[in-house]
Structures are given as structure tokens and as C-alpha cells.
């Protein structure tokens, strides 16, 4: 399984003087990676601006800056400051969080399918939140809190159960799908056992939505990310080792068990806070990593995954709000429909050896 899943990188063709040639390749790669990251960042900025300025209520750029500077334009000020801006900010933040969380899981467990939305962690949040909605009639912040608690509890349970001397990645995946199956069954069961109105409320939450965005929520989310993103950046070094397999990582001096626990906790926390803020926005965690990897020529990069995640959420939210006139769909309804064809297209056009994996 392992060798086939990481995908061999294309070996650089070596001319007469290998040392200098390699150095040149490395420099060129670093530069092109930088360019592509900058391009992705620019796309995020453009989409952010599109989300804030355009749509059902259009704001001109000068007006936007005047509002930011404190001018009170009747109507526009409220819509921009209390609705569009926090919504776009939360969109970027959850995109970044889901992108990094998914990419960490996929890289560490060396399986592109092993993102938190497939191996049980998002299901933990969903089951807990749907239980709160269906059995206790919860709404708003109570649902967010129970989602957060559910995700963390299930992640801890998966980790503890798959621990036996040390957590092997393979066992973690299998235990995760076991948990996912039970939690998924629980969600389906609750949805068949409740009245239709509550069921559709639960389905709405399960898709993920930015409708209840507010500055309070954005602040909490931002504070969490201020702690978690630097942690992810620090830990990403050992991630590169773990990607080669536990033995190779240990040989490279990575403390396998400790760094795996650190990475897992960070990724789980990222997925959990994002889910609490907007629901388990479908597929962002799963899609960002593979797309980022292919955009960078088959190299994993947390930064790129974060940007791709933000792009998917922002583009999906804009499409969801404006695609069908008169109907504002929740963002989670569109994320998969938007990200999936792009990944399929990348897969279909991968014509360089090694890119397909």
C-alpha cells in the first residue's frame, strides 16, 4: 500500500555535472513554488473582494474603503460590516483550517482518502450536533459547542482505541472507519426518527453553512487559528519525515510517536473549530490536499492546501448565493460540486509520469 500511495517523484535527468544541475533544479523548483503560492494567494484576495463587493448587494470600491474608514453610508455600512465582511472572513478561516487539517491527515497517514471527513472525526461533530438538534432542540451556539465537543471526543476515542504500544497509521485508519460507520448510522437513524422540519434543519447543518456568521464567531475562530496555525507550521517539518514511513522517519531523527500525536491534535483541533463555526462544510478537507499537491507538481504543501481550501470555500459561497436567482443555498451544498470537478480535471490531465501517483 505505502509505496503506491505516496507516488514516486519523477527523477530529475542528470546531465554531466550532477551537483550544479541538481542545485539549479532545486532553485528553479523553489522559485516556481513561490510563484504558484503567490498566485493562489492572489486568487484568495480577489475572491474575498468579489464576495464582499458583489452579489445581491453591490458596493463600489471607494464606498468600501469609506465604510472601513468609519463613514456611515445608510444600508451599505450595515450589510458590509455586519454581514458580508464577517461571512467572508469566516469563509477564509474555515477554508484554511479544513485545508490544513485534511492535508495533514492525508500526508501523515499516507492515504489520500484519510481526511478527517472520511475517517470519522467530522462524523463525530455531525453526530453530536444532530443529537443536540433532534433530541434537545438546540440551535445556534449550542449546536456549535456540541459539534466541537463531539469532534474532539471522537478523535480522542479513535486515538486511544487504536493505540497499542504505538499508533500505527494503518490501524488508526481502520479504527477511524469503524467509528465513522457507527456515527453515520446514528445520524441517519436520528434523521428517520424525527419530524420533517427538524430533519431538514439537521440536513441543513450537515451540509455546512456560513449563514450564521458574525464577528463574535469570527473572533473566536481567529483566536483559535492564531494558536493552531503556527503549531501546524512548526510540526510540518516532522510531517515531511513521517511521509516517508515510520521507519524512515525514525531513521531521520523524527520522534515518530510524539510528532504524530502533535500533528493529530493540531489537525483535529483545526477541523473541530472550523466545524463548530460553520458545520462540516462538505469535502473541503478532502479536496484541498490533493488539488494543492497537483498544482505544485506532486509535492505536498500545507500552505498551498490552506490557500486552496480558502479558494474553494469563497468561490462556493459566492456561487451558492448567486447561482440560482432568488435561492440562497448553504455553502456546503456547492463546495463538493465546485472542488470535485476541478480535482477530476487535474487527475484526467495528469500526463507527466508520477503526477497521477
Amino acid at each position: 500500500m505505502s509505496a503506491s500511495l505516496t507516488g514516486a517523484r519523477p527523477a530529475p535527468r542528470l546531465p554531466v555535472r550532477p551537483a550544479t544541475a541538481l542545485a539549479a533544479v532545486r532553485v528553479r523548483r523553489r522559485r516556481s513554488t513561490g510563484t504558484r503560492l503567490a498566485a493562489a494567494g492572489a486568487v484568495v484576495v480577489v475572491l474575498f473582494a468579489v464576495n464582499v463587493l458583489l452579489g445581491s448587494y453591490t458596493v463600489t470600491v471607494p464606498d468600501f474603503f469609506r465604510i472601513l474608514a468609519g463613514a456611515d453610508i445608510p444600508g451599505a455600512s450595515f450589510i458590509v460590516l455586519e454581514n458580508k465582511l464577517p461571512r467572508a472572513v469566516i469563509g477564509v478561516l474555515i477554508g484554511v483550517a479544513f485545508g490544513i487539517a485534511g492535508s495533514v491527515f492525508q500526508t501523515m497517514l499516507r492515504n489520500p482518502l484519510a481526511s478527517p471527513d472520511i475517517i470519522g472525526i467530522s462524523y463525530g461533530a455531525s453526530a453530536s450536533a444532530v443529537t443536540a438538534i433532534v433530541l434537545f432542540g438546540a440551535a445556534g451556539a449550542a449546536v456549535s459547542l456540541s459539534a466541537l465537543a463531539g469532534a474532539l471526543a471522537v478523535a480522542a476515542a479513535i486515538y486511544l482505541v487504536s493505540r497499542r504500544g504505538g499508533v500505527a497509521g494503518y490501524r488508526l485508519i481502520l479504527v477511524g472507519i469503524g467509528f465513522a460507520a457507527v456515527l453515520h448510522a446514528l445520524v441517519s437513524f436520528l434523521i428517520t426518527r424525527t419530524d420533517l422540519r427538524t430533519a431538514s434543519e439537521a440536513v441543513l447543518w450537515l451540509g455546512g453553512s456560513l449563514n450564521s456568521s458574525s464577528w463574535d464567531r469570527a473572533t473566536v475562530l481567529a483566536l483559535a487559528l492564531v494558536v493552531l496555525l503556527p503549531a501546524a507550521a512548526v510540526l510540518s517539518r516532522s510531517l515531511q519525515g513521517l511521509e516517508l514511513g515510520d521507519d524512515a522517519a525514525a531513521g531521520l531523527g523524527v520522534r515518530v510517536e510524539a510528532s504524530r500525536l502533535g500533528l493529530l491534535s493540531t489537525a483535529v483541533a483545526l477541523a473541530a473549530v472550523a466545524t463548530a463555526a460553520a458545520g462540516p462544510v462538505a469535502s473541503v478537507a478532502f479536496l484541498s490536499g490533493p488539488i494543492a499537491r497537483r498544482l505544485l507538481g506532486n509535492r505536498p504543501s500545507l500552505a498551498m492546501a490552506a490557500l486552496v481550501g480558502a479558494v474553494i470555500v469563497l468561490a462556493a459561497d459566492f456561487a451558492a448565493a448567486n447561482l440560482v436567482p432568488g435561492i440562497s443555498l448553504p455553502v456546503g451544498v456547492v463546495t463538493g460540486a465546485l472542488g470535485a470537478p476541478f480535482l477530476l480535471w487535474l487527475l484526467a490531465t495528469a500526463n507527466r509520469s508520477g503526477q497521477g501517483g
Binding site: 500500500m1 489520500p112 472507519i177 469503524g178 448510522a185 478532502f286 456547492v334 460540486a337 470535485a340
Partner: protein
């Protein structure tokens, strides 16, 4: 990773090794034992339910049916759901084993590879646009959706220079599943009536299907099972990696294509018959690997026998656990199977893909 596990922990892993190397007579004995367990579950499925009948009465009903006897009628009414449980359980487990072999990924199953998502979307569209109702109305929708999704996944994964590699298959499947689920969601959040019909279909159930449904799907299931059970040797060589398989004289592309065809037929027909049941195809092959090792010539037949055991066992429990109602089989499979699966995974050294 198997190598690494035994290298780091030679103590517990080593004694497993000789036992795992399958000797044919012993494995054959296990197969017969499994078949007997399955037979027991079939009989239990005819006996137990909201109105339970005695074992003697059940045997009477099977051997000398008396139309005027009420208990015999109860037994007769449980025959179709038992037959569907048998067929669907075998189909899902075999399809799961073959998919995990083709995609060389422990997470591969009809659910993750987009096949259930295709069926779901087709059924949702059928309900929403054409007002379909009931199992026989959904069946062709589910079939068409599952088939189309599988063909698209395989086609996308086969494009590009290297053909359908395991990673591309897994990614293409999961990506398509994500996209289709989004579209399904879009319909569900905008139409409550569709949600009301769909939420009962999507849990998966064996009840309420008559002989007409069985008659429609049985030919597909039999062909698919025959095709899949024959691919054991092919999957064994694919498990060594594409290059080695090619070196052994295997036509890798053809082998994947034929196996995938069998999987599509099985999943499409099973989902059409009982709705999307996710857990069986994913987990039964892993349980079987713990018993017979990594030889697909054994994994496939064992899966075909153990899949129905899980499905029928879950169905029986679902009939009695929450009286007077029934809990659908798709929910019970996970609730019954997952703890056992997790216990197995924790306990044993894994046979890996």
C-alpha cells in the same frame, strides 16, 4: 508497514506468522464452517421477528407448506427478505474485497468510490422530478446512477499517461462522491417532500421488497458474483504492484477493467435492491483478511459467505431491538459490526493490502 510492525515488535507478531500461511485443507474446513454459520443465520432470519415462530414450525413450513397455517404464512413472508439479505450481503462484501484489491486501498468501498453517491443522486432526482415512490420505482434509477458513476470514475482514472493507478482510482472515486453528494444535498435542502421520501431510502433496508425486485436484480447479482469470484488470482498479482504484475505476464489494464466491471454490476444491483448500505463492503474483507491472510482466492469466497452473515444478523437484531418498530438494516450493520471490527483491528496483527 507490515514489515515495520514485526521488526519493531517481534514478540507478539512472530507467532502469528506460521499460522497465517494458509494450508488448503484447514482453510477449506473454515470455509465449510462459515457456510454452516450462514445457513444457521438464514434459518434464524425465517424464525425470528415481530411474530416469532418455533424452529419446528419453521422447518415444517419449509418442508411441508400449509397455506391455511398462519405461522407458515409468516415464515413465507420472511423468505424474500432473507433471499435479498443473502444476495445483497454477498454482493457488497465481494465487491468491497475486489475494490480494495483493485484500488489497493484499505478505505476503498462502494460508498467511498462514488457508486452509492451516484445511485443516491439518481434516486433523489427520480423522486424530485418524476415523483417516484417505493422500492420498485427506485430500482432502475439506482442502477443507472451507480453504473454511470462507476463508469465516470473509471474513465477519469484511466485518462492520463499511466492509466487507472490505485491512487487515481481512489481520488477520482472520492472526488466524484463528494461532487454528487453536494448535488444530492442541493435537492434535499430545497425540497422537503424529496427529503421525506429519501431519508427512508438512504438508510438501506431489506423489508418491503417482493419477488419482483428479486427477479429484477438476481440475474445481475449472479453474473457479478461469478465474474468477481473468478478474479482472485488476478487480484493477487495486482497486489504485488503494477510493475511486478506486468512482469508476471498480467495485462494490468484488462485485469482492472474486468474486476471493476464485476464490482459495478454488484454494487449497482445491491444498491438498487436494498438502498445504499455502506459498512459491509468496507469491513467484511478486512475481517476475512484477519482469518485467511492476504490471498484473494480465499478472501473472495469467504467474503461472499460472511457478508450475508453480517447483513442477516443485523437484520434479525433490527427486528427485535426496538419493538414494535424495526430498525433498518443499514443502521444495524454498523451498530453491530463496527464494535466487533474495532475489537478485531485492535487485537490482531493486520494482514495488509
Amino acid at each position: 508497514m507490515a514489515v515495520q510492525a514485526s521488526a519493531l515488535r517481534p514478540g507478539p507478531a512472530a507467532p502469528d506468522r506460521p499460522r497465517r500461511r494458509s494450508s488448503t485443507p484447514r482453510t477449506l474446513a473454515k470455509l465449510v464452517l462459515t457456510a454452516m454459520v450462514l445457513l444457521a443465520f438464514c434459518l434464524a432470519s425465517l424464525t425470528i421477528g415481530a411474530r416469532s415462530v418455533g424452529v419446528g414450525t419453521m422447518l415444517d413450513a419449509v418442508t411441508a407448506f400449509d397455506p391455511s397455517n398462519g405461522d407458515h404464512a409468516v415464515v413465507l413472508s420472511r423468505v424474500p427478505r432473507t433471499v435479498i439479505g443473502l444476495l445483497v450481503g454477498a454482493a457488497l462484501a465481494c465487491a468491497g474485497a475486489a475494490l480494495q484489491g483493485v484500488a489497493r486501498n484499505p478505505l476503498a468501498d462502494p460508498g467511498i468510490l462514488g457508486i452509492n453517491a451516484g445511485a443516491s443522486l439518481a434516486v433523489v432526482v427520480g423522486i424530485h422530478l418524476f415523483g417516484l415512490t417505493g422500492a420498485s420505482g427506485y430500482i432502475w434509477c439506482a442502477f443507472a446512477g451507480a453504473g454511470t458513476a462507476a463508469v465516470v470514475v473509471y474513465a477519469v482514472a484511466s485518462l492520463g499517461r499511466e492509466g487507472a493507478t490505485p491512487v487515481k482510482l481512489a481520488l477520482a472515486g472520492a472526488a466524484l462522491a463528494a461532487g454528487l453528494a453536494s448535488l444530492t444535498n442541493a435537492v434535499l435542502v430545497s425540497s422537503q417532500e424529496t427529503l421525506d421520501a429519501f431519508r427512508f431510502w438512504q438508510v438501506g433496508t431489506l423489508s418491503g421488497r417482493g419477488w419482483d425486485v428479486i427477479g429484477t436484480v438476481a440475474p445481475f447479482l449472479v453474473v457479478g458474483l461469478a465474474l468477481t469470484l473468478a478474479t482472485g488470482k488476478v487480484l493477487n498479482s495486482l497486489a504485488l504492484g503494477d510493475d511486478v504484475a506486468r512482469g508476471l505476464g498480467q495485462n494490468v489494464g484488462l485485469a482492472r477493467g474486468v474486476t471493476a466491471l464485476g464490482v459495478v454490476i454488484l454494487c449497482g444491483a445491491a444498491t438498487a435492491a436494498a438502498g445504499p448500505i455502506a459498512f459491509v463492503g468496507l469491513v467484511i474483507p478486512h475481517m476475512v483478511r484477519l482469518v485467511v491472510g492476504a490471498d484473494y482466492r480465499w478472501i473472495l469466497p469467504f467474503s461472499a459467505l460472511l457478508g450475508p452473515v453480517l447483513l442477516l444478523g443485523a437484520d434479525i437484531l433490527g427486528r427485535v431491538v426496538l419493538p414494535p418498530g424495526e430498525v433498518q438494516v443499514g443502521i444495524m450493520t454498523a451498530v453491530v459490526g463496527a464494535p466487533f471490527f474495532i475489537w478485531l483491528v485492535r487485537r490482531r496483527t493486520m494482514a495488509q493490502l
